[in-house]
Each structure stands twice: as C-alpha cells, then as structure tokens.
C-alpha cells in the first residue's frame, strides 16, 4: 500500500514535467469539461432533487414535538444539503460515473498501446492525458455541487409543499434563518478537493492498467472504491480542519 501511495505521488509529479503548449491543454480541458460537466448535470440534478425531497419528508417525520417550529425542517435540509449531501454524496456518485469512465478510458488506451504511441512521439502521456481531466474536474465539480445544492433545496420545497408538510413561507424562512455563509465556502472547498481526488485517483488506476479487458474492469472498480474512500477520509479531515 505504501508503495502504491508513493507511485501515486510520483504519478502526480509527472503531471507537471515536459508539458505541451497552453493551447493544447486549453482545447483538451474544454473537451473534458463538456464530457464531465454537461454529461453529469442530469444525473446530479435528478439525484439531488430526490435527496432534498426525501430529506424534507424524513426530517418532518422525525419532528414529533409541537414545540419545534416547522421552519426547522427546511433549516435542517439546508444544513444537510450544503454541508454533506451536495458535496460528499454527489462526490460518491461522481466517482461512480466520471471516475470509472476516466479509468476505463485510460485503461483501454493503455492496453491498446495508445499511451505507448504518445510516449514514442515524445509526448508526456501522463501530462497530456491526465492533467486536462484533473483541471476540468476541478472546474466542473464545484459547479455540479452548486447545481446539486439548488436542486436539493428545490426538491425539498416541492416535496414539503405538495405533501402539505410545510408552508412555502415557512420553508423559505427556514432556508434563510441563521444562515452561515461560510458553509457554502466550506462546501466549495470540499468540492475542489474531492474533484481532484476522484480525477487523479481514477486516472492513476486507469493509467497503470496492464493486461486486457478484464483488468480494465478491475481498474475501474478500484478507481471508484479508492476514490470513495479518499473522499470520505478527506471529508472528515476537512471538517475537522475547517469546522472543528
């Protein structure tokens, strides 16, 4: 394991050596951003809308005391969404969708000698293939988290008002009540770190694939598993560091 971690850091070091022109990266980052960002919007919006809706219904179900005002429901939904659901749970889904795709793509390129073809041309394949993915991920994932947050709060609003759990006014009041804007900053810091971890770990796993189609599948699975573990550890460390 220590060997693997060391290899990962050497891999990260290669990202910044013998790079190509800025123009080359600009195009690649743009292409990756479209694949990563636009391609994930629908899934993220769908998942987060339902997450918000379910959180509202379940929070309301647990509010058994008449002394607790209704707007607390949306306050709880807001804190859960901003602090955990939007950045972290979506990161798990992001690892499953984008991480496995990155790993599969690089793994296939590796076993079909496309990576070797780049190396023979004198191109640093790690920098050329992986750096744009990491930059695009760090640019797009925070945007997905913002979309997820908005959709979750909207989902909560819809579920709460349609099922008559909470009035629209109470919901909006709860969303705005004692709002700490640092939590949004915190969520965005987390999203950048998670995006880096998912993209770099998935690329690392894909890049070092050896063998055939079976190994590409194994790499993709490992990419998702390792990314999720890294995200959860980073989540705890960041919470301790920035909120503790």
């Amino acid at each position: 394991m220590i060997r693997e971690i060391g290899k990962y850091f050497i891999f990260l070091g290669h990202l910044f050596t013998n790079r190509e022109s800025f123009k080359t990266y600009y195009k690649l980052v743009l292409e990756e951003s479209i694949t990563i960002g636009i391609g994930s919007v629908l899934l993220v919006a769908l998942v987060s809308t339902f997450m918000g809706a379910v959180t509202t219904v379940q929070t309301a179900a647990n509010m058994v005391s008449a002394l607790i005002p209704d707007y607390v429901i949306s306050q709880v939904v807001r804190e859960m969404t901003i602090l955990e659901l939007a950045p972290t749970i979506i990161a798990v889904i992001y690892a499953g969708k984008v991480g496995s795709s990155m790993s599969g793509q690089l793994g296939t390129m590796k076993i079909t000698e496309q990576v070797d073809a780049l190396e023979v041309m004198g191109i640093n394949s790690i920098s050329y293939l992986v750096l744009p993915k990491i930059i695009a991920s760090m640019l797009m994932y925070p945007m997905l988290v913002i979309i997820a947050g908005v959709c979750a709060l909207m989902g909560g609003y819809l579920a709460g008002t349609i099922a008559d759990i909470i009035t629209p006014n109470d919901y909006v009041y709860g969303i705005r009540f004692s709002f700490n804007d640092f939590f949004v900053t915190f969520a965005l810091i987390k999203s950048v770190v998670f995006a880096f971890l998912v993209a770099s770990i998935s690329s690392f796993k894909g890049y070092y694939t050896h063998g055939g189609a079976l190994e590409v599948g194994v790499s993709s699975t490992q990419a998702v598993t390792n990314s999720v573990i890294a995200v959860l550890v980073a989540d705890y460390l960041l919470a301790q560091l920035l909120l503790g």
């Binding site: 079909t112 000698e113 190396e119 023979v120 041309m121």
Partner: protein, 249 residues
C-alpha cells in the same frame, strides 16, 4: 543508423534479454525475428525507450539515448515513427485527425500545410476518401496503413514496426511489407521491423537479426538465412511448411 550494445533486461527473476548487441542500418528494413516469447518485442521497446534496459546502450546516430538529457531524449523521440501491432490509433479521433496528430502537437505548421501533408501520407499508403472515418469503421489492414501514415507524417529518421503483419491475410501482409520497404528507401529511414512472419523475412529481409531465448544467435540477410548452420534458426525457418518443402532444393 541505430546501434545497441550489451542490452540486458529482466522482469522479476526472468531474464528476457541477455547481452544483445547489433547495428541497424539506414535506408533498408532491418528485421528482428524470432519465435514468440524470445524477447524481440522487449528489445524493440528498449530501443524506443518504452522499457528501460537493466544495462546497455542505444545510440541514435552516435547520440546515447539512455545517457542523454531530457531535451535530447525528447528530440530523439520526435525523430521516431512507430507502427504498433494493433495500429494504436486514437479511438476518439478520425483517420485524418489521427494522422495529423503528431503535426498538431509537435509542430507549428499552418493548418493547410498540415492538411496537405496528411493527404499526401494517406495517399502514399494507398488510402483515399477515408479521412473522416473513425478507426472502428475501417478494416485491420486499413488501420495498419493509417498507422504507417501517422508514423511517417512527421518525416521520421527512424521507423519502428512491431509485428506489422499480425492479424492480416497473406496478400495484405505482402502489400504492407512492400509499402514499408518502399518507404524506408524513399524517405531514407532506418527501419526496424519485429516479426515472426517468414513471408516478410524472405520478402524484405535485407538485414536480419535472429533472437533466441533473449540472445542474438545470428545476423545476416534473407539470402543466407536458409544455410546459416544455426540449428535454432533452422528450426524457426523450416517450421513454415512452404519453407520446409523447399529445404532440399
């Protein structure tokens, strides 16, 4: 000219190459032959720098590849074109983009000039009207031709071909061999071909290196391969039924 000296390479406790040396000449195809698993592909990878040998030197026109600084290694690599066994075309790019790729990345050529060069190379390998096709839409033989076009597009000084005939029918194999032979002469490249195809050996084997169990056992031309006096080489050459039928003649 490419010269390699005392190349050795082991993977774990298995020695794949054992003190292999040789000279690969300019303007003609140099064939590295041997049975599967003898280390010829590893030797090729050591020559292009995809696998670092445990010991030994590789010289590209007197430039020591493994002792050169990073810039010189990149400079040498940019003088190399390589045809991979499966073509190694980029799946996400069409034929034209694949061939243009080295020019896009490694040169500052204007777009029209690049396009002319791409069309010239595709025409030279006998491919026309396939510019916009994706690699998944073309046949194995066409993939090899596109691979050759991509390998020569940047005017390389050294051309490497790893099993150029694998997966091709005998007729297409001959066409590919002849194409590589013609291109070597036309562009004055040092061409290195790794193969175990006896048709290629007898067709374009101007210079042949026979590798057996990680060692170079024999060096010569197609004219003297049948009477080398090396048992291992005879076993390899006459394993082919056609060659065997000609043995006594």
């Amino acid at each position: 000219m490419i010269k390699f000296e005392h190349i050795s390479k082991s993977f774990a406790d298995r020695q794949v190459l054992n003190d292999v040396s040789g000279v690969l000449e300019k303007g003609k195809p140099n064939l590295i032959i041997g049975a599967s698993g003898t280390g010829k592909s590893v030797l090729l990878k050591c020559l292009v720098g995809l696998v670092r040998p445990d010991s030994g030197h590789v010289y590209y026109d007197d430039r020591d590849f493994y002792n050169a600084d990073r810039d010189q290694v990149i400079e040498i690599r940019r003088e190399i074109g390589m045809l991979f066994q499966g073509g190694a075309l980029f799946d996400s790019k069409n034929v034209e983009q694949n061939v243009r790729f080295p020019l896009d990345i490694l040169t500052k050529m204007p777009y029209d000039e690049k396009q002319d060069r791409v069309n010239f190379c595709l025409k030279r390998v006998g491919l026309e009207n396939v510019n916009k096709k994706m690699p998944s839409e073309i046949s194995g033989g066409m993939k090899k031709r596109v691979g050759i076009a991509r390998a020569i597009v940047n005017n390389p000084k050294y051309l490497y071909c790893d099993e150029p005939n694998s997966g091709l029918d005998p007729q297409t194999s001959i066409v590919i061999d002849e194409l590589i032979d013609e291109l070597s002469e036309e562009f004055d490249m040092t061409t290195v071909i790794v193969t175990h195809d006896m048709n290629s050996v007898m067709g374009i084997g101007e210079k042949i290196l026979f590798i057996y169990k990680g060692k170079k056992l024999w060096e010569g031309t197609k004219n003297d391969i049948t009477h080398s006096g090396v048992k291992e080489l005879d076993d390899f050459v006459f394993a082919n039924k056609v060659m065997n039928s000609l043995r006594g003649k």
